[in-house]
Symmetry: C2
């Protein structure tokens, strides 16, 4: 898959990676917890949320250095949610990005603490990096408040709760859509909205929320398609688990062709929402939609 | 046990309880996660951290309404840490405050999410309740930053990690002291320091840190004594587990008399640290020390 301007993407992702590493190295904490947090946080991945947050913020007139703490925070939140999702009591996954999952390496108790540590560290980083400039600080704090809502039980956490319930009783397509809007969509949406708040462009937030909801669902439908027909080696994780567990997915509800069509419908809805954005930001997010739709891992 | 002015304590604790309940009720989230978070968060308890934070803040010239979000946040952090500590992979406790623990009632997966939800909600509450007044807001944000450090892997989370390690290899008295300074002490210290920051009394923080470290250890020694000789019914939790697990405690390291003496030594150290405080605050914290030393549950 391409991700927009590939070189620029890799460079921004590299700066995020270095910042995450530097934050972990700067912590005055027991070595084991630093190591176990780093094992998952620094395991690579496409860094979609932080890179989009930073690049969109710049396209809207903001500065990378102002938004970087929020970008690191959202990646920490994403990473902690994966560690806890993989636990034996949750999805019981042993493979993630081609590596053994956190609890396989460090044990369940330590993996719970590593997740807790990353969740808290997200806010520790934010609260210790408030921008000096009063106007930027105000936008930054609004972004942080928005992120916290999206990460919590009204966002991602609520989606995870619904996901557990859907294991016991298969969800309707409507419930599945709401579940995924929260579980996957909330953080993607937060990455866009945090960019706008930090850049002082509150006028764009409603459009970005609509766009974010649409690409969140598009992203998840693509995930379900890859889980049904993708390449396990390329994906770096076990596939076919949802089908085996009898859980509703967009593929089980709509069939492969129906799911692919739904993804294209969400692409159209996403593009419609971009009308009010400045040209450069609109073009950037249009490319992002295409890349998410065409991804193979 | 007394806790300082008993009626005033109960009244403040009651207002914290109502605020916590109101926050949970106001969340637009799945009913099950609200219920499972509330099961632990609203299970009573002495509310030591939020009550001390509020009452000390007022004695230092601050206002309850300004510090209340931080007080709720610290109780959420304390509550989430208990839910995760009780999990089968951690301490595997089935009883807490006389009730079945969270995972016994809701299952392990849901208990992990309830803990995650409360941890995040702490910051969600803080970030959505920034005081209007610029000076108060600055102190409030410094308090929030301090709290986040104390809750994370450089504080409570690091202490929990050391505690896991101490299960494999018995800790020395020195390691145990550092472990407990983080695991139990960090949040107690945060409750004092957040009060001072919010009241705009940064000049008192160093004294309060010294006092907080001392009462954190005093509190934990008392816990170990109660675990060795306390009344299970009064405590509302299983006792004698640490001794059975072969873990170092202040009682195993120092004996019952030695531990009681160490607690009195920390009391003296705590009182010495109070010299620079205004009279009312000094007298309040002196009473707090005595109450913690004499508690039987």
């Amino acid at each position: 898959m391409r991700l927009i301007g590939e070189t620029a993407w890799r460079e921004t992702a590299g700066r995020v990676e270095r910042e995450l590493r530097s934050i972990l190295e700067g912590l005055d904490c027991p070595g084991l917890i630093r190591e176990s947090m780093g094992y998952s946080l620094l395991a690579g991945g496409k860094r979609i949320r932080p890179v989009v947050m930073i690049q969109l913020c710049e396209l809207l007139g903001g500065r990378e250095k102002d938004v970087m703490p929020l970008a690191c925070a959202i990646e920490m939140i994403h990473s902690y949610s994966l560690i806890h999702d993989d636990l034996p009591a949750m999805d019981n996954d042993v493979l993630r990005r081609g590596k053994p999952t956190n609890h396989v390496v460090y044990g369940e108790a330590q993996a719970i603490l590593a997740g807790d540590g990353l969740s808290n560290l997200a806010y520790e980083v934010i609260l210790h990096a408030l921008p000096e400039d009063p106007a930027v600080r105000t936008g930054f704090l609004k972004a942080a408040a928005y992120l916290s809502r999206c990460a919590g039980v009204c966002g991602m956490g609520g989606g995870q709760c619904m996901d557990l319930l859907a294991e016991k009783e298969p969800a309707s397509l409507e419930t599945l859509t709401e579940l995924e809007r929260l579980k996957t969509g909330a953080l993607l949406r937060a990455s866009l909205v945090c960019a706008a708040f930090t850049a002082g462009r509150e006028d764009l937030i409603s459009s970005l929320e609509t766009y974010g909801d649409a690409i969140g669902l598009l992203f998840q439908i693509q995930d379900d398609l890859l889980d049904a027909v993708g390449d396990e080696a390329l994906l770096g994780k076990s596939i076919g688990k949802d089908a085996l567990a009898g859980k509703t997915t967009f593929v089980s509800a709509l069939g492969i062709e129906g799911a692919a069509q739904a993804a294209r419908d969400y692409r159209d809805r996403a593009e419609e929402a971009l009308g009010s954005l400045p040209d450069a930001a609109r073009s950037y997010l249009k490319d992002l939609t295409a890349d998410l739709l065409e991804r193979d891992h």
